[in-house]
């Protein structure tokens, strides 16, 4: 391996860490499938978060040792999980009462596209031959108080995921509060997108070139 001294951007763990730092102590949190699941590994010492998984568990714990897996104890991605001491099981109507009723504080989701108004597309590319599947994403963005998106800045094809208007079918309109990518942390404000933090060796021009919507800089560094 050739060591390059100029690493550009954050890796997935670093992205997850950025998200974890922004979730207040005591929050009830729903983590989407994939990169969002990593957030649980980076909760700062001294903070306690309670994880809800919409298939019916509040107080989701870590992945079990393989031989201990209970096949009927799964998360929303149908992976085997554990329940912490103090966990609760419930049926789907209660689960979505937690979500739609505004009882979940933070939800971290992946994205296919995010618009500059905070519209999120993360369930379908709208391709005619694809089998549509939505799960709980629309209920989550409609009901959870704060929606954080964690995603690569560009698609696998190198296209920007953050754009003026989503071309894919929406999951929800004006729902995203902040976007955590491998290049930056970006807040969605009424006045547009504001760059809160840039990853190592990323500057504003570099970031803007890879973003399909106008980025703004905060007037002064927020303390």
């Amino acid at each position: 391996m050739i060591q390059t001294d100029k690493k550009i951007g954050w890796d997935r763990n670093e992205m997850a860490q950025k998200v974890a730092l922004d979730i207040p102590n005591g929050s009830y949190v729903n983590l989407g499938i994939g990169i969002p699941e990593l957030v649980a590994d980076f909760v700062p010492k001294g903070r306690e978060l309670i994880y809800q998984t919409e298939n019916g568990l509040l107080g989701m714990g870590k992945v079990p040792e393989n031989e201990m897996a209970d096949r009927e104890l799964v998360n929303a991605g149908k992976k085997y999980v554990t329940a912490i001491p103090g966990a609760a099981y419930f049926h789907h109507a209660d689960s979505f009462a937690m979500i739609r009723g505004g009882h979940i504080d933070v939800c971290v989701l992946g994205a296919m596209q995010v618009s500059e108004q905070g519209d999120l597309a993360n369930w379908s590319t709208g391709a005619k031959d694809a089998i549509p599947a939505v799960g709980g994403a629309m209920d989550l963005v409609a009901g959870v108080n704060r929606i954080f998106v964690i995603t690569q800045h560009l698609t696998k094809h190198g296209d920007p995921k953050i754009i003026e208007k989503c071309s894919y079918p929406l999951t929800g309109k004006q729902v995203v509060e902040s976007i955590y990518t491998n290049l930056a942390v970006i807040d969605v404000k009424e006045e547009g997108l504001f760059v809160r933090e840039m990853a190592p060796n990323v500057d504003f021009n570099y970031l803007q070139k890879r973003t399909g919507a106008k980025l703004n800089q905060y007037a002064q560094r927020q303390v």
Partner: protein
């Protein structure tokens, strides 16, 4: 004496007619009543509308019921899983109809069906293709989509413990849609791992009160769907 216990899975599914709407519990394999589904395959009812979160894995359980061409329509939130082969094929061939519903809306439509509520407003799916053609209404400055309740003729559900009155306890996240599907169906058919005497389930902990359940069948050692899929088993 009230006794909802039946002696076999075949007796449990007896009477499920062609064209029936059948709710099937389960989130993936957790809570999937696989023995009851296989009994329904043996029984052979056709043109079913199936209400279930997923469409099954491999060639067993719900996937086998679909593969056996007994299902005309599915009402479902996530018809894809890592191992779903059957549904995609039939869907692409235009041989099965899909009504895609957000998961929480699906749950609430079932809950409403069981609770005598004909319809309700929800913010989920607003401004998305899944709200197209649906009525909406502004309530206190926020727009909502009108969704209708779902009721079923039958429900197939898996629980952990039951008694002859139909009182039920569940296990872990296998609970998922079971309790609400029992309420929303005329005939809720439940497979339990263990039948106990009335009174042995603490009334304080009953999850599904017996009034919502019509038939209970004991299957003490249910198969693991994931294991059958791994072994590439198929049913029948």
């Amino acid at each position: 004496m009230i006794n909802k216990i039946v002696k076999s899975a075949a007796e449990a599914v007896n009477g499920i007619h062609d064209g029936a709407t059948v709710m099937i519990g389960g989130f993936g394999e957790a809570g999937s009543p696989i023995e009851l589904i296989h009994a329904l395959i043996d029984y052979g009812a056709k043109d079913l509308t199936v209400v279930s979160n997923n469409t099954g894995s491999g060639h067993v359980g719900l996937a086998a019921l679909i593969e056996n061409k007994q299902v005309a329509k599915t009402i479902c939130s996530f018809p894809r899983t890592a191992n779903s082969k059957v549904f995609p094929e039939l869907y692409h061939a235009g041989e099965i109809e899909l009504e895609l519903v957000p998961q929480g809306t699906l749950a609430e439509r079932i809950r409403a069906g069981g609770a005598g509520i004909p319809a309700f407003y929800t913010p989920a799916s607003l401004n998305t293709p899944l709200a197209e053609g649906k009525e909406s209404r502004v309530i206190k400055n926020q727009e909502y989509v009108l969704e209708y309740a779902i009721k079923a003729d039958f429900a197939l559900v898996k629980a952990e413990t039951g008694d002859r009155y139909g009182n039920l306890l569940y296990h872990a996240t296998a609970r998922n849609f079971g309790p609400i599907m029992c309420t929303a169906s005329k005939v809720a058919i439940v497979q339990v791992k263990k039948i106990v005497e009335p009174g042995q389930i603490d009334p304080e902990t009953v999850v599904t009160p017996g009034i919502f359940v019509q038939k209970v069948i004991e299957i003490n050692n249910p198969v693991d769907e994931s294991q059958l899929v791994e072994e590439e088993m198929s049913y029948p």
